[in-house]
């Protein structure tokens, strides 16, 4: 297969776009498309400061690399979760991020280590609070969201960018549609505006790339990322939904893209408007972040409980 632009040997064929490109033109296309999505969805401007949440995986590192190449003011945030899983998962992922930064002088990386900042690793926190049916994903999500928002707010960033790709978005959409969670459908999109003082604007510049495209970008640019999945991700529903959608895609090219873009169009036309909840947000007296409940937010309540139980068990 030949490159559509120069007839050299193609390295990737994007069946949903009927577009095959060589290495040089693929990298050029990938940057131009990212720029197009950032502008189309009004994610941020070159004058604004962006905080990129990096995990050591292909998507987030590729995103940081692309934003810097496009000339955006992008800093990184790495959250050390303390997950070992027998493979030293967090240690390995941090090493990937550290090497990425080392190879690119001038980049600024914020590191938050959960255990040293809040008193326990994520797996310990999940175990002592018995949240999440034996899996730490619920505590992990709650903690990451809190830290990302705190660092973005404290650092004066205008937007918080994550490496979510179209497969991630389509899997979430599939799950929400399957259960008709219209409240979630109303909130899903490339941009989640800072709807309340103290909440950072959240953006997903890669939301229209297939997962294989972000992986191809990382491979072609030599980004060394963590291949291993989080040890707790095995059997995750989102991965199952991705598999289902990819089976569909194999038979019907462009199925994932049509599903997601069709949803965005419906959303823009106001289909989910009536489901948009006007939640009255309060301010958590402990951390100062917005919360839907009165009194302490879920993060502060959970972590107070974690510290109490960890202290009690060590007496």
């Amino acid at each position: 297969m030949k490159c559509r632009k120069c007839s050299a040997k193609a390295v990737i064929n994007m069946r949903q776009h009927k577009l095959a490109l060589c290495k040089e033109h693929y990298l050029e296309w990938f940057l131009a498309q990212t720029e197009r999505f950032i502008r189309k969805y009004r994610m941020f401007t070159p004058e604004e400061r962006v905080l990129v949440a990096v995990s050591g995986g292909k998507d987030s590192l590729a995103l940081w690399d692309v934003l810097v190449k496009l000339g955006y003011q992008a800093d990184g945030l790495y959250i050390g979760l303390g997950i070992d899983g027998g493979v030293g998962y967090s240690a390995q992922s941090y090493e990937k991020v550290r090497k990425f930064v080392e190879a690119r002088p001038g980049l600024h990386l914020e590191v938050v280590d959960v255990a040293s900042t809040y008193g326990a690793t994520i797996p310990t926190a999940a175990r002592v609070t018995r949240r999440g049916k034996g899996k730490p994903c619920s505590v992990c999500g709650l903690t990451k969201r809190h830290i990302m928002n705190r660092v973005a707010r404290d650092g004066g960033y205008d937007a918080l960018a994550t490496g979510h790709n179209l497969d991630d978005e389509a899997a979430v959409l599939f799950g929400n549609t399957l259960h008709w969670q219209v409240g979630y459908l109303a909130r899903q999109g490339p941009v989640l505006p800072a709807s309340h003082e103290g909440l950072a604007r959240k953006v997903k510049p890669f939301c229209r790339f297939y997962e294989r495209e972000t992986a191809a970008y990382a491979l072609l640019t030599g980004i060394d990322y963590i291949y291993e999945e989080c040890p707790y991700a095995a059997g995750a529903r989102s991965i199952y939904y991705k598999e289902v959608l990819n089976r569909l895609e194999a038979e019907r090219r462009g199925a994932k893209l049509q599903f997601y873009l069709g949803f965005l169009r419906a959303r823009e036309q106001g289909v989910f408007q009536s489901a948009q909840e006007q939640v009255q947000l309060n301010t958590c007296p402990t951390c100062g972040q917005p919360t839907a409940v009165e009194g302490q937010c879920a993060f502060c309540r959970t972590w107070d409980q974690v510290r109490e139980r960890v202290a009690a068990s060590s007496v």
Binding site: M1, A10, V11, I12, N13, A20, K23, G57, K58, D59, C137, D167, D168, A171, Y210, E211, R212, T214, A215, A216, L219, L220, Y227, E229, C230, Y232, A233, A236, S238, I239, K242, E243, N246, R247, E249, A250
Partner: protein, 64 residues
């Protein structure tokens, strides 16, 4: 006449002469979830497998 596909810690012996895409499907994998790499370089999955080819399939699905 055979070629080899490597996916994570699994190896699949496949017949040469067919496309990588067909070989991936024959191994029970989804072509949408992997990137084929030959001799360290990304290749498109319409490439015909040649005798002795070793194709590493890079898994692209992540999440949880």
């Amino acid at each position: 006449m055979s070629a080899k596909l490597i996916f994570r810690d699994q190896e699949f012996e496949v017949e040469a002469g067919k496309t990588i895409r067909d070989a991936i499907k024959e191994c029970g994998l989804s072509p949408e979830t992997v990137l084929p790499v030959r001799d360290g370089e990304l290749v498109t999955d319409d490439v015909l497998l040649e005798e002795g080819d070793v194709i590493t399939l890079v898994a692209v699905i992540s999440g949880g």
